[in-house]
């Protein structure tokens, strides 16, 4: 019986080669996209679920609401926050704070790794974030003031296969640490990317005892580290740049609401500074598992994912799979229609309906299984273009098998119910006479397939239009021919900064190829980590009702990035790179209450401890992507970058860019001999903010094209079947005088009208979809009617091309032959 079924199935497949190929190809596309996108979504939605007791770990984020309506929602919090909770609440098992920095690490005389994620934290770091640890025998984990703990992969990067324990590393060419322990890597799907962990105690020791001029650490046996105390005001007044990320771990069985309900009372026990007292301060407890997808606060530790994108990906999975499944079901139904006679014969030979269904199901199942097998390596290749191979969770196979059985079962059941089951009541007629091969469902299938395809095409064009809009919008600055590099790490907090910087600048400006050079704490396309909600007019009591971004720049910043000054004057060059002059943007002028840009000039505002004069107002420009609205920004002339990274920007003229870059490199190497000159083009860096949008657009474009391909394959299959069924009719019409054109129109119109119906159905749905996607952009393109026009026209044209060749072949065939065969 089994071999008999399989023989029959194989012969059916071979006999109808084209139809079989069409079915299999559609399924391969469906399964490949399904597996690829499911793995992608799994990766996005499984963030931070691998931690032990991940359900008990929360980040304590900060919510400030001022009376003027200004709100600050920050991922960072004050040091005192988690410390207070830990001391006061028995429900808390552990807590830790950490500050993250991106550093360069050196080991030995040659090894050097840049962009290392370095955190300073409490010794309890690994109690909250549990990892397997290989320790040195000499010291414990995070107990040695000169010790660090590094990740396995970083250890391998730095030391290869050598034992990393007790080896020395140097941070930013100054602070030397010893590797005390190695921790098991934090998986990729975590919001935490950490290579090195050291303690706050070490941080304070090195800050106090490191001689920057001589680049040596002075031994200080009298150093005492004051244990953090949340009941002192200093734990609650750290500026945002130095605030840590705070985490707590709850005891088993504790409900976070219990903790949350006690926060307000706890905050009355600590001496909050006045600005916090006025701010209706609250803590936002974020489950660690939700941070990646659901958190979109200021000062996030790294760029997070986006629930909406996951939702869109899920919809794409569903619709592409739906198109492919419909394609298979519909082609399977028509091939079963052609096998009706065989089923009738089997029934007369003693088969039951159950046995007929069994045969149909096994055939459908085997075709699906074959397609799945072929799609496995394709899906693997697709997945590894975007994610590391080890992220593939084999549980995906369970989903795939479930989907496979569902499709195989539907593809057997639908033809069984709609074409087999009801046609045998007339008994012998079925084998004696011509079988009625009409199947109404096929029109429905074509309509559904094309509706989805057109929706995908509209969304693809819509998103493409937004991408173009973002690329072509005048950003208010010009990053063409502009390079940037990080400021030399060795210069952070170094007393020689102004002198060296001046020398560097002077030498650069002698180069023919360099138009201008500027240094700043942020550049277009990079975040502006400093925020200030305490900016006020000099001699007034209250601050302006806004949070201002603060960027440190020099006098050449506007020239380097071609930013327009609309009132007042530019900053002037200062030998020590510092002055009390500032520039503001138009939005800031408005937020400070000036009626016009000119009115702002000469006014004085207090920034921290300094009273500054507004020298000029610049035209608003997009400092970050069009996802974000332009923020009020103050451009101050100082090079105090604190611990954060600053930037050097070089605007070049178009002649001999390569030559100029090599000249800059020579100067850099002479002045900063131990640091490599690594540069990027500003334009490319700005565009990289749209990387995730572009990836999404890519997925959507491929999905839309493949859905269109599958829909056309399905349409082709149905056309072939219908034309074959109507050959006699076509011949009679031809004999009766119909022209080739009339016959082609007759055959085409039958399907095209359903594609038209699909077009009408798809318009409102795709409009809604594209509109929802665009909500994520502060600046967005319009949804024009022609997007729908193009999508509809393209689908109809492609559908017409698909069926016309077959119609033409049928219309030009010899009618005598067809009639004779009948």
């Amino acid at each position: 019986m089994k071999s008999h079924i399989i023989n029959t199935i194989i012969r059916n497949l071979v006999k109808k080669k084209f139809l079989s190929l069409t079915k299999i190809l559609g399924l391969i596309i469906g399964y490949s996209i399904f597996m690829f996108l499911v793995v992608k979504i799994q990766h996005e939605t499984n963030y931070d679920q691998f931690w032990n007791h991940s359900e008990s770990v929360y980040r304590v984020a900060l919510d400030l609401k001022y009376e003027n309506g200004e709100q600050v929602k920050s991922a960072k919090n004050f040091h005192g926050a988690s410390e207070l909770l830990n001391l006061e609440l028995p429900e808390i098992l552990n807590h830790c704070n950490f500050n993250k920095d991106v550093v360069t690490i050196f080991s030995g005389s040659t090894q050097k790794i840049q962009d290392v994620d370095f955190v300073f934290s409490d010794p309890s770091f690994f109690d909250v974030f549990e990892r397997k640890i290989i320790k040195s025998e000499n010291t414990g984990v995070l107990k040695n003031i000169h010790g660090v703990v590094i990740s396995q992969s970083f250890a391998h990067k730095l030391f290869g296969n050598e034992n990393p324990l007790n080896k020395e590393i140097t941070v930013n060419e100054g602070w030397k640490f010893v590797v005390d322990a190695v921790f098991e890597d934090i998986p990729d799907n975590s919001h935490l990317k950490i290579d090195v962990v050291a303690t706050y105690k070490s941080l304070f020791y090195y800050m106090r005892n490191f001689d920057n001029t001589r680049q040596i650490l002075i031994d200080n046996p009298n150093f005492t580290y004051k244990q953090p105390d949340p009941y002192t005001v200093r734990r609650w007044r750290t500026p945002v740049a130095y605030r840590p990320y705070c985490y707590i771990k709850l005891k088993e069985g504790t409900n976070i609401n219990t903790v949350e309900s006690k926060v307000a009372a706890l905050l009355t026990k600590v001496p909050l500074p006045q600005n916090l007292k006025d701010s209706n301060m609250a803590f936002n407890f974020q489950p660690i598992k939700d941070i990646h997808l659901k958190s979109n606060l200021d000062h996030e530790i790294s760029a997070n994912g986006n629930t909406k994108q996951v939702l869109f990906l899920s919809i794409i999975i569903f619709v592409v799979l739906f198109v492919c499944a419909i394609n298979f079901i519909s082609l399977n139904t028509i091939s079963n229609l052609e096998l009706l006679k065989n089923y009738a014969i089997r029934l007369f030979s003693g088969a039951t309906y159950t046995q007929i269904f069994q045969l149909m199901f096994v055939e459908s199942f085997l075709i699906n299984a074959l397609s799945l097998l072929i799609s496995l390596p394709i899906a693997y290749a697709l997945i590894t273009t975007q994610l590391p191979a080890h992220t593939i969770d084999l549980s995906i196979l369970l989903y795939v098998v479930f989907v496979l059985i569902l499709i195989a079962f539907s593809a057997a059941l639908i033809p069984f119910l709609s074409v087999v089951k009801n046609r045998f009541t007339s008994g012998l007629k079925i084998v004696g006479q011509k079988i009625n091969q009409n199947w109404r469902g096929q029109k429905l299938m074509v309509t559904a397939q094309f509706s989805i395809t057109i929706i995908l095409i509209v969304c693809t064009i819509g998103i493409y239009k937004q991408m173009q809009f973002m690329m072509q919008t005048d950003l208010g600055f010009n990053g063409k021919q502009t390079l940037f590099s990080f400021s030399p790490m060795t210069m952070n907090q170094h007393p020689d900064i102004p002198v060296k910087l001046s020398t560097f600048r002077n030498e650069l400006l002698t180069l023919k190829g360099v138009n201008s050079f500027s240094t700043s704490s942020s550049i277009p396309g990079q975040t502006t980590p400093r925020l200030n909600n305490q900016v006020k007019a000099v001699h007034t009591a209250g601050p302006f009702p806004a949070t201002f971004n603060e960027v440190s720049i020099d006098d050449a910043y506007l020239k380097t990035y071609n930013i327009k000054l609309i009132a007042g004057e530019n900053l002037s060059f200062q030998n020590d790179w510092v002055s009390n002059d500032i520039l503001i943007n138009q939005t800031a002028a408005k937020d400070m209450g000036f009626l016009s840009a000119n009115n702002a000039i000469g006014n004085r505002v207090t920034l921290g401890k300094h009273d500054c004069t507004i020298r000029g107002v610049i035209e608003d420009y997009h400092h970050t992507s069009l996802h974000n609205a332009i923020k009020p920004t103050i451009y101050a002339q100082n090079i105090r970058w604190d611990h954060s990274v600053g930037y050097y920007s070089f605007q070049l003229n178009s002649d001999n860019v390569t030559g100029t870059i090599s000249q800059i490199t020579q100067i850099w190497n002479r002045l900063y001999p131990k640091e490599e000159f690594i540069y990027n083009f500003s334009e490319a860096s700005f565009a990289s903010q749209y990387e995730s949008d572009q990836k999404f657009n890519q997925i959507l474009t491929y999905s839309a094209c493949l859905a269109l391909l599958v829909s056309c394959l399905g349409l082709l299959g149905l056309t072939l079947f219908n034309i074959k069924k109507r050959l006699k009719e076509i011949s009679i019409r031809k004999v009766s005088g119909a022209s080739v054109k009339q016959i082609i129109i007759m055959l085409n119109i039958d399907f095209i009208k359903w594609v038209l119906v699909a077009f009408v159905i798809s318009i409102p749905i795709s409009w809604y979809a594209i509109n929802t996607w665009l909500e994520d952009f502060a600046y967005r393109t319009s949804i024009d009617w022609w997007i729908f026009g193009i999508a509809g026209f393209a689908s109809i044209l492609i559908a017409l091309t698909t069926i016309s060749w077959q119609s033409f072949k049928a219309a030009t065939s010899n009618p005598v032959k067809a009639l004779k065969e009948e």
Partner: protein, 225 residues
């Protein structure tokens, strides 16, 4: 073996009702060879459908081997059908994708016969029909006469008590037609009851009895023995 009494069958469309069988009664004894004749549309095929338990009647009685089967459900009828009835059609109705051997094997598969036993039985019947040498061929590689012999082989492989033949020679030339009629006669001699619908007076002469129908009714019955 078969006794039908006042058998009725109507075909209804939205506008009219056509009577296919109008209170038809006759019986067929075990081992008989009965030919049913009549013009197109007289109800021959409808009658064969009901006798083959492939279609319901709208009234009357149908006793098969002493059992009233008229109200049996599909499962029961399928069971009686596969153990007792073989079909031979004008258009052979072989499955193109199966070889001669597999086509003949089909009824044995559905009655649950073991593989070795199936092989033996199929070989026996193919030998008998003199098409053993063609067992690995596909139907489209055979002549019309050979195809009908395969169809007959399939109809008899299960040793049915009754063979229903619907114009078995309709698609054959006279010599192939005669061969098939000889086969049926031979089977009948070995005890199989045969009911054959035919337009051919020549073929009808091979039977014991001819029932002539018109408008769903029996008009005359001629005994040929």
């Amino acid at each position: 073996m078969i006794k039908i009494t006042d058998l009725e069958k109507y075909y209804k469309t939205e506008e009219l009702q056509t009577i296919a069988l109008n209170k038809l009664s006759f019986d067929v004894k075990k081992g008989e060879f009965v030919a049913i004749m009549g013009p197109s549309g007289c109800g021959k095929s409808t009658l064969l459908n009901i006798l083959g338990m492939l279609d319901d009647s709208d009234g009357g009685s149908f006793i098969f081997n002493g059992e009233e089967v008229i109200h049996y459900n599909e499962r029961k009828r399928a069971n009686i059908r596969k153990h007792n009835i073989g079909f031979v059609f004008q258009s052979f109705n072989l499955i193109d994708q199966l070889t001669v051997f597999e086509n003949v094997e089909l009824p044995l598969i559905y009655t649950g016969v073991k593989k070795a036993e199936r092989k033996k039985k199929v070989h026996e019947v193919l030998e008998k029909m003199q098409i053993m040498h063609r067992r690995k061929h596909f139907p489209q590689q055979l002549s019309g006469g050979q195809q009908q012999r395969v169809a007959v082989a399939r109809a008899v492989v299960n040793n049915p008590k009754l063979i229903l033949a619907d114009e078995p020679t309709g698609n054959l030339d006279s010599s192939n037609g005669n061969e098939v009629m000889d086969l049926l006669t031979e089977l009948n001699k070995q005890g199989t009851t045969i009911i054959m619908v035919t337009h051919s007076e020549h073929d009808a002469k091979f039977s014991h009895r001819i029932i002539r129908m018109l408008d769903g009714q029996k008009v005359i019955e001629n005994s040929l023995i």
